[in-house]
Amino acid sequence: MYATYTFVQVTEYVDKDFIDIVLSKTQRKTPTVVHKQYKISRIRQFYMRKVKFAQQTFHDKLSTILTDFPKLDDIHPFYADLMNVLYDKDHYKLALGQINIALHLIDNVSKDYVRLLKYGDSLYRCKQLKKAALGRMATIMKRQAQSLQYLEQVRQHLSRLPSIDPNTRTLLICGFPNVGKSSFINKITRADVEVQPYAFTTKSLFVGHTDHRYLRWQVVDTPGILDHPLENRNTIEMQAIAALAHLRAAILYVMDISEQCGHTIEQQVALFDSIKPLFANKPLLVVLNKTDVIRLEELKPEQKTLIQNFINDDIPVMEMSTLSEEGVMNVKTEACERLLAHRIEVKIKSKKVEGILNRLHVAVPKPRDGFSRPAFVPESVIKQRLEKAPKIKKKTERDLEVELEDDYSLDLKKNYDLPADFKYDVIPEFWEGKNIADYIDPDIMAKLEELEREEELRIESGVYDKEEEEMDEEEKEIHRLADKIREKKAIIAIESRIGRSGGAPVMPRAGRKRERSVSRLRTEFEELGVDMSNKKGAHFARTKSRSTSRPPIKKARADSAGRVSSSSRVTPRDQSGIRNVQLKAKAKKMSHKSQGKMNQFGKAGEADRHIAVKMPKHLFSGKRGIGKTDRR
């Protein structure tokens, strides 16, 4: 349902025994026995197979590593930046580049040695060459040990990164260390972030999810940031900066007005000013935390003016206390509302909104006259409502539950209309061979008799009789014909399966009599029962028969393309089934194209001359019966 942004798909576990695994696999998966009296081609093939297998295995493993690791250019810029902060983009790219180089080198080694193996003329030589090839591949891999170690660490860390969706509704919490960001996220979501009194407890980004207005919201907790220039920031702070820079989220800048975090309000405001450029185009909310210790009103006037500056700049300021939980929900609601409004605004400004707005139509009933008719409640009713005493609310089970807390248990039998000692008795199901449920109602026998009487009446009147469909003559005829058709189809299918009609010699196409003729059409349809006497309304044309009155004029019959043919009784094969000239040209082109490659390579096809035996024995050996054998 939600797109999970995780990098867990890197599967290849890079081991230090990489080389051993591949070499032992080569030994197990290829044939192991070869003797020196085998044919040299067989020996060569044996060793070439080993070299190629080892190369293939290395290649497969290294290429899965290369494809599984995410490319920094293909992922969302937030993740690209985060990975740069955590793993150093250059080091990462270099390590993958080294692996790529190793891959190509191994391929080249294999190619060279397979080429050399073709000229190996003894088992010893082939074996030495195979040993040299495998040894070289192993040396190449040994040099990559450092890169592989680094990539393994990256893989492990990557699989545990929090899955933050950069495109959905997000609340981002930032501020100094120890101001109460993690406590806040613990309060509104189920994320269990560690809260401790020392600074930099949270060392990386954490994500939690909360609900508001039936929508899912992501809440991202960042490590605290200190106030110094960007170059001096360490890895932990840079993660927070990366999140601030790339996530389009509502920002909650948390401040500690009790100054228990170890930084004064002036310092916190100074930090706010220094990271202000990162808050551009994002809904911002300043949250004053730890109000259980000191409230906004109790602050010194200088500090109050600083906070007042925020309000003057149109940035909403809210108070809360994560310890006593007052104001936490209000802050969350306010932030969510602001973000929602902002997102809707952005969507309206985008181009896609036109498509949606065109489909929306709010229907308002047309006023039939200019008379306005607002809602009307008579005065007396209003007075009555105010005077009426408020109804005594019945005490609900929920209220009881809240009151009793742990001691509460749901007891549905307490309101039964029975004397107290019978209320909680268990009701048995059977008694003396009869169901108790049958005797609950005193009138049950009377009711049963009535029901039975009704049922008898119904059966008599024929409500349950099945209706016989009356078919008229036409329908009967149709049914009969349909049966006939089905029968004939079945017969044809069975005959073709048995092949009874096959085996008989077939006349070639050109020699066959005209198949599609009007007379044949007529006879077949009349057999089926269709009336064919109506010539006028017919869509088929009878061919003009040669009459004796007119002398036959010998004319060269040319077809649409202007080609003359002597006798065209049967359509030639390359024209049958083609409607017009364009289609014919296309068909010709397609046939040329498909044959082109075959012709170009000049490979022997079925129609080419093929000499089975190039050197028949009787021509190249033996004495001649008569004559000399100085020529063969």
């Binding site: 060279d112 050399l116 040299a132 994320a191 994500v207």
Partner: protein, 260 residues
């Protein structure tokens, strides 16, 4: 979902099992049994690999034990005499005499005349023609056998073009043509991959030299401009001789030692 260091966080919050430490200790104590079982059971290539690894581990163990033991014992300090040190009463003497100088000069001259060079591999096994060449059958029914296929690694120059196939007697396949050699400098103990300029002499036969066949013991000339050597007079050395030290047709590469 588990985020970041959730395992460590869990351990911090809820601690370990009651018997966790004991189980770890016992598992470690049983490790030697596992090792001995594997050492007995593993056979074949896996056994060899395991044995090799185990051997190197044992060597390390023994070394550390010895190092520990050395600290405890004390050794007598034997006064070591540095090499090339002379006793005081011999200090002022000239060690070489005139006669010796003369005789060494004469020997040098004689060597130069004979053309005997001091090479790392003075003697190599001679390769017969049957080893180096293989008969290629040609003709209508494969009855002519005057062509020969070279089965050893060879070097052909840069502008090499074959003779017309009908007339070429010695076929040197492209797979066996090499252009580079791995040359080791004997003093620096460093190896470089240098391009071959030509084959100077093949000890088995002058025919092989003219064909460019490279076998063990062949003297080849390599392009050493990469090393940046300079003569006394200030000229840059770009070609030097090297002697091949391996069987290139078995290893797929040419390894040579530079003759300085």
């Amino acid at each position: 979902m588990p985020q970041n260091e959730h395992i460590e966080l869990f351990q911090k919050r809820y601690g370990f099992r009651m018997d966790y430490q004991e189980r770890q200790r016992k598992k470690k104590a049983r490790e030697h049994k596992l090792q001995s079982k594997m050492a007995q059971k593993l056979i074949g290539i896996k056994g060899k690999i395991f044995a090799k690894r185990r051997y190197s581990e044992k060597v390390q163990l023994k070394r550390t034990i010895k190092a520990h033991e050395e600290k405890k014992t004390r050794k007598k300090d034997e006064g070591k005499v540095p090499e090339g040190a002379m006793p005081a009463y011999l200090l002022d003497r000239e060690n070489t005499s005139q006669a010796k100088l003369l005789s060494s000069m004469v020997k040098q001259k004689r060597k130069e005349k004979a053309g005997k060079w001091d090479v790392p591999l003075p003697k190599v096994r001679a390769q017969s023609e049957a080893e180096v060449f293989r008969v290629l059958k040609t003709g209508k029914s494969g009855r002519k056998g005057w062509k020969r296929l070279v089965t050893k690694v060879c070097f052909v120059g840069e502008g090499f073009t074959r003779k017309p196939p009908k007339y070429e007697r010695f076929v040197r396949p492209m797979a066996l043509r090499f252009k580079k050699a791995h040359v080791t400098h004997p003093e620096l103990k460093a190896t470089f991959c240098l391009p071959i300029v030509g084959v100077k002499k093949n000890p088995s036969s002058p025919m092989y030299t003219s064909l460019g066949v490279i076998t063990k013991g062949t003297i080849i000339e390599v392009n050493v401009s990469e090393l940046g050597l300079v003569t006394q007079g200030g000229k840059v050395v770009w070609g030097k001789y090297a002697q091949v030290t391996n069987n290139p047709e078995n290893d797929g590469c040419i390894n040579a030692i530079l003759l300085v």
